[in-house]
Symmetry: D3
Subunit: 136 residues, 6 copies
């Protein structure tokens, strides 16, 4: 069956969530890609020559948009995927998401490779917790 094929194509313990029907499809990968894009833009902003305003403005805007998207994606996991039973096992769950969300805003306001790397790590940590919840 087609759906079987698709499910085989996707990594075994990964689910994706992106709509509120709910479709039961969740995945931290979108947030990870957004965080990686923020980091990439910070790096590009160091490389573009001063006079290339076109691409500096475009990179600033892409950084803003993907920091926003990163926050949106992790908050979908926090508000829709994680349930009361997860909280028991991960008592720091709320704070983990709160700090990651705050890093999204900090990366909008700054062009700072260290802060962008902290965002990547914070989202990786969320992805690790998510992966653990899928195992059990």
């Amino acid at each position: 069956m087609v759906l079987d094929r698709l499910l085989k194509f996707l990594p075994a313990k990964t689910v994706y969530a992106h709509c509120d029907v709910p479709c039961g499809i969740y995945d931290p990968k979108s947030a990870q890609i957004a965080a990686a894009t923020v980091l990439k833009m910070v790096q590009k902003l160091k490389e573009y020559p001063e006079e290339d305003l076109n691409n500096r403005v475009r990179a600033i805007w892409t950084k803003e948009e993907h920091a926003r998207k990163c926050k949106e994606e992790i908050l979908i996991l926090w508000t829709d995927y994680f349930k009361a039973e997860h909280l028991e096992k991960y008592p720091d769950l709320h704070d983990t998401f709160w700090q990651a969300a705050k890093l999204c805003s900090l990366n909008k306001q700054n062009v700072d490779e260290k802060k962008a790397q902290e965002l990547v790590q914070a989202v990786d940590k969320i992805a690790d917790i998510f992966a653990e919840t899928k195992k059990s």
Copy 2:
């Protein structure tokens, strides 16, 4: 001065936050209006006659959009306005926002006046906490 006039116009202890510059402007009212709209749509969905598909579809969509907006607005307060010092005074802060966000999703999936009223109350509670933090 014009800005003074504006500040006088606005309720004394109210600030509004809606962009990430940051502009330091925050307010729970947008979330309250969104929650009230969700409730209003649930009520209208009971009143529209069965055959008025046009307005039933429009009310379902407006409910969906304002439940989404309500969630977005409260999460702006949670991630950008509230700081570590607030957490000490309000140890249930994270859970309060988590439950309110989950009510937004529940109101998308249901047409249920009780759940809509719970959302209105949850957002009112957030507004009360917000107002208290502005006093001190």
Copy 3:
């Protein structure tokens, strides 16, 4: 009742309008906040150092977006809230909105504190007229 509580929470003679169901909910406050944000961004654009391209670009974009939103919000009042009977009492109504809308566009094209203050005043005038119509 919950709705009663909400209505008590909101200022007595204020109604809000933001969807086209219609939900009968109108308020000039969104336009006032947008106008205040335009002014704030003009002021920030004077403060940011020349080399902080990231935040100058972000402030320009926030100014653009809130000038657009300000125009959208006042035109909702003009096209949906105000009726023929208001025109009789306020013969300059159309021109008041027209000039305010034109100020939104001017504030997109300029970084000019005087023009931003004129926009704040123009929207305040609309809020005053709105408040008067609610009294009678």
Copy 4:
């Protein structure tokens, strides 16, 4: 030259306006197409069989979206293209746009071929005035 070719392709006395740079490009055609789409959707809503919920919902949503777009497009003309000198020649200008904008809202709230035709005619009238201002 390429631009000459383009300008030749476009009807001689027509200009288009769609951004706020400003680019000096205005045209009532977008509003006319949106109005025509509203009318088309009303007609389709009569044709779709009762059980074809998929396409009835899609037509209701397309009607809503194009009524919104129609209003947006005519208000761009009103706020950005028309100037004080036009008002002298067309003393009913403000009212013409006001009534057309109100027809957009009415067509959201109803599935009524007569109202949709009134919207098409109201936008045609605006297009006629616009064309006259380009002649002189």
Copy 5:
């Protein structure tokens, strides 16, 4: 009849397509206007003085947005209007659209009048093919 009037108003052999109901309304003009706007922004970016960051940023953003819109509009024609029978008559059809879409991306990444003119020409070529298919 109103629709007859509208159809008379529109150029005889032109149809417009912009929604996926489908409404059977297609036209390459939106893509042509978007391409012309890209070219206009490139020209404005040469004229704005170095210190007018506000309008340089706004022109960069308008160029980006209309390059995106140009691509979107031509791909609507390619995916929804053109059918298998057109391919037989225009064996280069796919490549023509592919190259035009790639020019949209190139004009985002560059401020280059020559590339902007190539985009205008590429969209004109699409418009010519479209016009021919309407004759037969």
Copy 6:
């Protein structure tokens, strides 16, 4: 290094592309998830009871939105990732994308599990070609 960690986390031969900076990040997975969502919504539309208008309307809208997103995602691959050298190796490349895009529109207009499965298969085929190009 953080970026190394991230790159290790992602499947070895996968790259993602989602912005036009360009960031060189491309992946067919977003299109696959969108296609899977279309199929899921078609299945849900069969399960919802007749009287649950709320969730039937929401599923129709989610189907529409993800069919649109699926088309958008595959066209990003076609216009930005694939180059002339790929065409030589995959002479049917253009037609493969064209047919897949047309399937997106068909799935908007219908609630048909067979057509939804054809869309899933068409996007899988694109993912296979993409994976092959990454190997060489």
